[in-house]
Symmetry: C2
Subunit: 336 residues, 2 copies
């Protein structure tokens, strides 16, 4: 039996190019005791994947050259030597962008029930790492109070669009930063943001000015996905005692040299905090977050946008949408 894999053949320098990857067909190895074979239906494409392609110390080992690019997938067990993952079981796991993944109990894999959600893609969006990032970032890091002003960068993105909606449900005033007029319209019309700021053509000072126009007293909470001018602008518009949840720095990931943050002195002036976080910190509590997000979904209180591209041959192009900003919603690759 064969599988096709989207493999890493060369470590990207800055922005990944197509030749850094190759589609490879190979014979599937036989399963060892405890292993199970997952036929992947969908793969989650996330900015974090970019970090895993570098050979740099991080919270996870780099993707080895010649191996499938690591991604969370959802699929069905089609062969098993593990009683906890029988044939027919649906599984979400940190596997690879490939038609078939070999799962292990000691890996990151969980059985899931597709009857719980309208589409199995939801396990990769609202109930997946993206949804949990929004939920725990807000509930455990930012802990905003009703009436506070919440600023979100990459606010139309997969995480940001959920953060804005969850913040609004908690009674916050929400301001979103996104790139381009169309996205800014989506922020207000689709995700219920109170104000939208287009970062295109604006430097940190201009972004700060736009934030202050929308929130003259400054912002209490910032959910930061971008870094660069977005973060530097936010730092210039903090209220005393503000908290910044540092979730991602997508402005840095493909930059040839670090962009950095130039306004950290505002943390002193504003007695403010930046807290970096990884959603894996609350892994034992995910069931609680998943239940909460599933309930909001069922009650129709959340708009969950997914951008699904089809076919392993589209993996590179689909991944790059994350950095070009041409996706509208959580980026997902349909594998089969």
């Amino acid at each position: 039996m064969k599988r096709t894999r989207f493999t890493l053949v060369r470590r990207p320098q800055g922005r990944p190019v197509e030749a850094d990857f190759a589609l490879v067909e190979e014979e599937l190895p036989a399963l060892a005791e405890g292993e199970f074979l997952v036929a992947n239906r969908y793969a989650s494409l996330d900015p974090a994947i970019r970090g895993w392609l570098d050979d740099a110390p991080s919270y996870m080992p780099p993707v080895p050259l010649g191996e499938a690019v690591r991604a969370t997938t959802v699929g069905e067990v089609v062969e098993s030597r593990n009683p906890a993952f029988p044939v027919g079981q649906w599984v979400v796991g940190l596997h690879g962008i490939e038609t078939h993944s070999i799962g292990r109990s000691d890996g990151f894999a969980s059985p899931v029930d597709p009857a719980l959600v309208p589409s199995p893609t939801h396990f990769l969006s609202a109930l997946g790492a993206v949804g949990m990032t929004a939920w725990f970032g807000l509930e455990r890091v930012l802990m905003p109070a009703p009436g506070q002003t919440l600023l979100v960068s990459a606010a139309a993105g997969a995480v940001g669009s959920l953060v804005g909606q969850l913040g609004r449900l908690k009674g916050c005033r929400t301001i979103g930063i996104a790139g381009g007029e169309a996205k800014c319209r989506r922020l207000v019309e689709r995700y219920g943001y109170d104000a939208a700021i287009d970062h295109r053509g604006r430097d940190a000072e201009a972004i700060a000015e736009a934030i202050r126009a929308a929130a003259p007293e400054g912002v209490d909470r910032v959910f930061e996905n971008v870094g660069g001018a977005c973060l530097d602008g936010a730092l210039l518009a903090l209220r005393d005692g503000a908290r910044v949840a540092l979730c991602g720095l997508i402005a840095e990931y493909n930059a040839p040299a670090p962009v950095g943050a130039r306004n950290l002195w505002q943390l002193i002036v504003r007695k403010a905090t930046i807290r970096g976080f990884l959603v894996s910190e609350w892994l034992p509590e995910w069931p609680e977050g998943i239940a909460a997000m599933a309930a909001l979904l069922r009650e129709g209180k959340l708009v969950v946008d997914e951008h699904v591209d089809r076919g392993l041959d589209q993996a590179y192009a689909a991944f790059m949408r994350l950095f070009d900003g041409t996706n509208e919603g959580k980026m997902i690759l349909e594998i089969a």
Copy 2:
């Protein structure tokens, strides 16, 4: 009656030059009801003063052109129209680098008892903003546990030397960063640091390497006074869940362009926090901090180094020592 003032005549561009200031003699105005006249004995020279010279939004209004440079002073009341500050009373206040300051009840001024300390200069060092910065930064922001590793930058400085000693008294392993061999020797021999790192000639990566050599598992707590390569190096050597207290960014203050922090992504990887603070946050609790520091002084548990230059005509040169690093201990100007 006349007074002499060290006034700001031009806003510095980057590094202050002597012509940005002028010594001015002027007739003292008559006291209004509620005012009192302080004959200043000593002025505290602090890096924060540099920020007050810029016309930029901050936690305090900029020093007006033509006015005395703002500084904390200690002195004696020599004339009074305020019963709470009678003639003969010693006062610590946020006044100016000048022979005489006019105090007001609604300003930052407190009566002090010089009998409590070996020297009135101690009100500007261990019992002043410097001592309170070390105390509250450690007690309220970093809250290190015994056995944790505490990294301090500008570790031989007025704040840093106290932080290292207080951290050690709390049972921490302490690592200090300073500029030059002589200062590094002081760190270990005089302030009891377990390890010293010379930042001269080292970039962020080399500083990180030196930190990891002294603390192979990384550092739990960072008391950051410098920014630039010191902060970037510290960020590369954090332990999971680390906390950074951002007290100052002296590397930025005179830089022509912002230096910035390039390794904020480490906050995500390490699930770490940076908290900026101003010692004024705990102003109501200062008596508690002052009592604690006074007790440590009396018990001989603290080495408090002061670098006293004499005369208002030395104000500029003395102030610049802070940025050249030629002071050995808390920088104080003796006025009279």
